[in-house]
């Protein structure tokens, strides 16, 4: 039983780490604000869920678990709202998304 729980929480934690790192790579490598925001906000929620579930599996049921559930709920509520607000105000203040970058433009960009 213990082994199964350990394995499960390992899997959850590692999955969470993977999502976190992929989001980080996205935020670092993508070359435009909206794609970066996309990478960050999509991975954020799942990453939180997996890591916290990994922890919950370890701790069993007690006050700490309740608090961790609160954290997940809080982050799931706030994180999308924050992303939404961020992107909205970026768009409104005139930061235009590059919807389609042609090959020529992108090569020009890498050169400059």
């Amino acid at each position: 039983m213990n082994f199964i729980i350990d394995a499960l929480s390992w899997a959850c934690l590692m999955l969470g780490c993977f999502l976190g790192i992929s989001g980080a790579i996205g935020i670092f490598r993508f070359d435009e604000f909206y794609s970066r925001a996309h990478a960050a906000s999509v991975t954020d929620t799942l990453c939180v869920l997996f890591i916290i579930s990994g922890l919950v599996l370890q701790s069993g049921f007690n006050l700490v678990t309740v608090k961790m559930i609160f954290i997940v709920v809080l982050l799931w509520l706030t994180s999308p709202v924050a992303s939404h607000a961020l992107i909205r105000s970026a768009y409104q203040t005139g930061l235009k998304p590059k919807l389609a970058i042609t090959r020529k433009e992108s090569s020009k960009r890498t050169q400059s």
Binding site: L77, T78, V81, H84, A85, Q92
Partner: protein, 327 residues
């Protein structure tokens, strides 16, 4: 410290060093403020790694929360631009900094080694706090017992410092009740944010109360609770409008309550004095010293929370009510 903790500590410190270098070199004020928010978060993490959970709690709420918000309000008024200055010699500051740093490094050479349990710091005064405070004061959180009982007078000074800051900010900025400029009175309608905020604010206040009264057992206490409470009001102000928030918590009430909080703290001391103890000696507050300590700590923590919450909200109001003058 075990190897992994050491590694984490070093990684965090390295990040902190990079953040600091970026702050020193950056010329964009906005970036500087954002980075100083990160700096606070990082240093709070280091505090957690070094076992100072109460400090981490406060640093996160104050450094990353309140102080970032105030800085933003200020750069909103003063402008984002940092002009290039004429070439002024940077040699003198560098020399001063170099000498100060050299003296400090020289001083550390004889410092007791980091984390060594036989350091004088851990041998003289602290053992009593660690060993006896759970029985003498009767609460498990030693930081709270030292803060509120052994060194309760320092904490009273701290509340007075907060009050002094309020006096200063009120004197300098004042709070403008009526906003004249109609452009900013109505923020763009933001339904999602407003719904979220309405949903969250009660929980934040509940959490503030939890932190206030659970401070004896876990990290937290009056100061942290006060800051969290003020954060709830700040969130309300941000998602609705300043006028709405001022209708909800009128500044004149807050001013009274801020002063009242200080008086509650001091009053506890005076009561203990009248009951025949020394100033802030909670033992005499009840028949049983442990109960007395409990009551005393509960009351003064309430005073701290009240003052801090009111002062933080008032300072925030004062800063944003200046904002419409120079958009």
């Amino acid at each position: 410290m075990s190897a992994i903790n050491l590694l984490i500590d070093i990684v965090l410190l390295t990040m902190l060093v990079f953040t600091t270098i970026a702050i020193v070199r950056s010329r964009s004020l906005f970036a500087i403020v954002m980075l100083s928010g990160i700096y606070s978060l990082l240093s709070a993490n280091i505090f957690v790694v070094l076992d100072a959970v109460d400090v981490a709690f406060t640093e996160a709420a104050v450094g990353a929360g309140i102080s970032t918000v105030l800085m933003l309000a200020t750069i909103g008024i003063t402008g984002y631009e940092q002009k290039k200055r004429r070439s002024i010699s940077r040699i003198t500051p560098l020399i001063v900094v170099f000498i100060t740093g050299a003296v400090l490094v020289y001083g550390t050479l004889d410092m007791p080694a980091f984390t060594n349990p036989s350091n004088p710091v851990h041998e003289h005064v602290a053992p009593r706090f660690i060993e006896q405070s759970p029985t003498e004061v009767g609460i498990p959180n030693m930081v709270t017992s030292v803060l509120a009982s052994y060194r309760g007078y320092d904490t009273m000074g701290e509340v007075i410092v907060v009050f002094a800051a309020l006096i200063g900010v009120l004197s300098l900025l004042g709070i403008r009740e009526k906003k004249t400029d109609p452009v900013y009175t109505e923020p763009p309608p933001r339904p999602i944010l407003q719904v979220m905020a309405k949903f969250m604010i009660p929980f934040i206040i509940l959490f503030a109360l939890y932190v206030q009264f659970h401070g004896d057992f876990g990290p937290g206490g009056g100061f942290q609770a006060g800051v969290i409470f003020s954060v709830a009001i700040i969130l309300y102000t941000l998602t609705f409008s300043q006028q709405d928030a001022m209708d909800l918590v009128p500044p004149w009430v807050l001013k009274r309550l801020a002063a009242l909080g200080v008086l509650i703290y001091g009053g506890t001391g005076v009561v203990s004095l009248l009951k025949g103890g020394n100033f802030l000696d909670y033992n005499v507050l009840a028949h049983d010293p442990i109960h007395g300590q409990h009551y005393g700590i509960l009351i003064i923590e309430f005073g701290v929370g009240l003052t801090v919450a009111c002062v933080m909200i008032l300072i925030f109001f004062a800063f944003i009510s200046r904002g419409d003058k120079n958009p």
